[in-house]
């Protein structure tokens, strides 16, 4: 396995453009409370192996899209460096132009050229090849994406799912070393998302492409990625496989990011994943209502379809426990129950 991408200690800040009144406050009245810069990415390092699919996940403003734009060369870093196939492409002093990087990018709004047909859109990036090669490659891509029948239509004449496939095909046409996908599913209907995830994973795997996906939806990350990188306010929180980040979160933020978690003080009887701060995280579905274990009073029961959420208050001064259970078996609000950890 060779390393396709390597990022070292990358940082990016933006200087805010201040409106008149705030400019006066900042620079004439020297009001320090007016911020000048916003930190988007802070000291981020990771690497991506050939053929791997990596997901960058975080809330909005966590810097995930900025990292993608830095890799593509659309932004310049303030610190750190980016290497693609051992060649340094971005440092604060020098950035190679995006058009020379051989990176494919799928944009959130697809960014299809509205005045070109589907076929012309896909051909756009192949201008260095001759006509024959272009023809062959476009036909190949159209076959792969099952878009043959739409080749001569305009982007606005086809559906959202098809537009997304065109965007993917356009990015893949020139066989990029690295494929970047920026929130690829956020513009799709909920019903379309699941099949599109499957399809895109299939296409990426078939073409043996190395890919980085930016998303805020943990389902996208779990379904597609080999590794997940969780970001918060520009800083990496954890890097690991989907199972690792879900079952062995390193801190409370990561634990809560992927759904409700019981964070318990460290005692011997509490099992579960140990966090950096010493607490332990236990997923609600790993707890069951049982005869033995921690005793408490049921405070609230909510039905969510696949499961019931039961909130149990053990004793005064202790944290509430949340338990997911497929059936209640007679448990109701006010009843005394025991909670235990599944093995």
């Amino acid at each position: 396995m060779t390393e396709i991408l390597s990022i070292e200690k990358l940082s990016k800040t933006y200087s805010l453009s201040l409106p008149w009144s705030r400019w006066v406050r900042r620079y004439l009245w020297k009001d320090q409370s007016v911020p000048q810069i916003r930190t988007a990415v802070e000291n981020v390092s990771f690497s991506v192996q050939e053929g791997e699919i990596v997901a960058l996940i975080g809330e909005s403003g966590s810097g995930k899209s900025t990292i993608l734009r830095l890799i593509a060369g659309l932004e310049k870093p303030q610190k750190g460096q980016i290497q693609i196939e051992k060649k340094t492409v971005s440092t604060p002093e020098h950035c190679t132009a995006p058009e020379t990087r051989q990176i494919g990018m799928v944009f959130q709004n697809y960014a299809l050229f509205p005045h070109l047909t589907i076929r012309q859109n896909i051909t756009y990036g192949l201008h260095q090849q001759n006509k024959k090669q272009q023809q062959a490659r476009v036909t190949e891509i159209l076959d792969l994406l099952q878009l043959k029948d739409y080749a001569h239509q305009s982007p606005h004449q086809i559906s959202g799912g098809q537009q997304q496939r065109v965007a993917l095909g356009r990015a893949l046409a020139s066989k990029p070393q690295l494929l970047l996908l920026d929130e690829p599913f956020s513009n799709l209907d909920v019903m379309l998302k699941a099949p599109m995830r499957q399809e895109i994973r299939k296409i990426i795997q078939e073409t043996k492409t190395t890919a980085i996906i930016v998303t805020h939806d943990e389902k996208d990350a779990f379904a597609l990625a080999d590794r997940i990188i969780i970001l918060r306010q520009g800083e990496v929180q954890q890097i690991g496989t989907p199972e690792e980040v879900y079952h062995q979160p390193q801190n409370a933020y990561v634990a809560n990011f992927f759904g409700k978690t019981n964070l318990l003080n460290e005692t011997e009887k509490n099992k579960g994943a140990k966090l950096e701060d010493g607490r332990k995280a236990i997923r609600p579905e790993n707890l069951t209502l049982a005869k033995n274990g921690v005793r408490g009073v049921v405070k609230d029961v909510t039905f969510y379809g696949q499961y019931y959420e039961v909130v149990v208050e053990p004793k005064e001064g202790e944290e509430e426990l949340v338990v997911y259970t497929p059936n209640l078996e007679g448990v109701e609000v006010g009843a005394t129950v025991s909670v235990t950890h599944q093995d």
């Binding site: 593509a72 058009e99 020379t100 959130q108 020139s174």
Partner: protein, 549 residues
């Protein structure tokens, strides 16, 4: 430290040493820098300039008179256009009454009539042989008092300016009213404010930035005008620049006056931007207005009159009079001069608008590629010319060309004129291409093109140019028509041969210098007809988003 400086220098060099940035800066320097050079001719202690004026035999009181007249003209026109523009826009946008649909676009039409053409027409309507004085005389009233004190005086000039320039206020006010959420106004009505209260407490304050912006445009047109005030014999700063320049042939005197005029313009621009300070709310655009209330009987009649008066005086009467004159004289006016003036006008307009379009495109694209503070400042400076009165632009062109070479001005023939048009109308082209072109193209298209290996040049050619085509056409038409209408600049910078005419200068010569307004009707109508095209485009662009119309 020196290493750091060296590094920083290389970074700067890399950032600014590329063809796009350099050409953008070059355009700014050639187009805008002369405007600032003119200030060096303003003597701050008041001695130098005035000395040269008094040496020319111009008394101090003459200068003060010109300043006073300019001020009164601006004040009167500003107030009347404010009232006419905002009230008609309010009525047409929020009520239905007989003719409201027709007025909604008809009220813009006076914009097609340059003030100097309207003033010629009204001068002759109100002249001794005109209809109103004739009727007055028939009633046994001496019309002389009316003619000399109202129709052919300051009042007459303010009347002309107000009724042909109010559409600037109307257009911007209406665009702003249309953006105001219908539900906002409906809630005001439900909270018990009547329609007057709603206008003064809600509609007007929300649209105020736009309305004042419109008034500022009107004032700049007033400062720009030469033809109308000359016709009415009112001494303003602009006519004074002319006089000093053509009669006394004094560079420095004209430049001194031009600098004062420019200061006045900057003062208006400053006031206009100050009134926008502190406005950080965005007007809701959601919630379209429901059914417009239908006005009945007396109210409907009042609303109709309110719109019919500006439309009538601003467009119908002058156009009707011109049509009548033209039909009477059409067969006699076709001569070599008129034919040549049309050819001259069209070719000048074609060259100027093509050049302006290309320059604006280059600047906008450089700005899109390198959105640095320096470049956005440069483009702002380069487009200042639109606020600069024609007489000042002319002075600037003369100044810069004579600075290069004393004989250059007369040997270049068309070039000074083209340069003047470019300086003055670059903003128009720039703004059209920006707002209906580049702003509509998502930046992710540029990025997609880049990531697919396209250089900036290829992206411009393959992506932007095809998408920009409508905006480029609009920019071309706007500048084309403005060049046809432009009088002040053309008169000063036209090649100094006695038989060189454009449509606007031949109109002015026939109507004012030769005193045969009937013969000027045909070229006037050609200019007006050409002027109607961009009015319709403007109307379409401003209101295409509002479906309730």
């Amino acid at each position: 430290m020196s290493k750091f400086l060296c590094l920083r220098f290389r970074q700067l060099l890399r950032a600014y040493c590329n063809p796009w940035v350099l050409s953008c800066l070059l355009i700014t320097v050639t187009v805008a820098l002369p405007i600032f050079v003119i200030f060096s001719h303003l003597s701050w202690d008041g001695s130098g300039g005035k000395e040269s004026l008094s040496e020319l035999g111009i008394q101090e009181w003459e200068f003060e008179d010109a300043l006073d007249n300019t001020g009164i003209l601006m004040l009167g026109t500003g107030l009347i256009t404010l009232i006419l523009g905002s009230s008609t826009a309010w009525l047409v946008t929020f009520y239905r009454f007989p003719g409201s649909k027709l007025f909604s676009w008809g009220l813009v039409l006076p914009l097609a009539i340059p003030p100097y053409i309207a003033s010629d027409t009204y001068w002759n309507i109100f002249d001794y042989t005109g209809y109103i004085p004739y009727t007055l005389a028939k009633q046994g009233i001496n019309p002389l008092y009316f003619i000399e004190n109202f129709a052919h005086d300051m009042e007459g000039a303010i009347f002309i300016f107000s009724f042909v320039l109010y559409p600037y206020v109307y257009l911007l006010a209406r665009a702003s009213f249309l953006q105001q959420s219908g539900s906002l106004l409906e809630s005001s009505r439900l909270l018990g404010r009547g329609s007057w209260g709603t206008f003064f407490r809600l509609g007007f304050p929300l649209a105020r930035p736009a309305i004042i912006g419109g008034v500022a445009l009107v004032l700049m047109e007033v400062l720009n005008d030469y033809g109308a005030v000359e016709r009415y014999g009112i001494k303003t700063l602009t006519t004074m620049i002319f006089k000093v320049w053509t009669e006394y042939e004094s560079y420095s005197g004209a430049l001194h006056l031009a600098a004062i005029l420019l200061l006045l313009v900057f003062f208006i621009l400053a006031l206009e931007s100050i009134q926008r300070w502190g406005i950080n709310y965005t007007v809701l655009t959601q919630g379209k207005q429901g059914e417009k209330p239908q006005l009945k009987k007396g109210k409907a009649f009042a609303a109709f009159c309110c719109c019919a008066i500006p439309f009538g005086f601003g467009f119908l009467i002058p156009t009707g009079q011109l049509l009548y004159w033209a039909s009477q004289t059409f067969s006699q006016v076709w001569d070599r001069d008129l034919a040549w003036s049309i050819i001259n006008s069209l070719s000048l307009a074609f060259v100027a608008s093509t050049l302006t379009m290309i320059l604006a495109l280059v600047m906008l694209y450089s700005l899109r590629l390198h959105k640095t503070t320096l470049l956005s400042f440069a483009t702002k400076v380069a487009t200042l010319g639109y606020a600069t009165p024609g007489a000042v632009v002319a002075a600037v062109v003369i100044l810069s060309l004579t600075w290069l070479d004393q004989t250059l001005l007369y040997s270049l023939f068309f070039l000074p004129l083209i340069l003047g048009y470019v300086i003055r109308f670059l903003r128009l082209s720039f703004y059209s291409i920006e707002s209906s072109g580049f702003d509509q193209i998502s930046p992710s298209l540029d990025e997609a093109s880049k990531s697919l290996g396209a250089t900036p040049g290829r992206t411009l050619l393959r992506i932007h140019l095809p998408l920009l085509r409508p905006a480029l056409i609009i920019a071309f038409i706007f500048v084309f028509v403005e060049v046809l209408k432009e009088l002040t600049l053309t008169m000063i910078l036209a090649p100094p041969s006695s038989d060189f005419f454009t449509l606007s200068t031949i109109t002015f010569r026939l109507a004012v210098t030769d005193g045969v307004p009937y013969r000027a009707a045909t070229p006037s109508l050609i200019i007006i007809l050409a002027g109607i095209i961009p009015v319709f485009i403007l109307n379409y662009l401003l209101y295409r988003d509002s479906k309730n119309d």
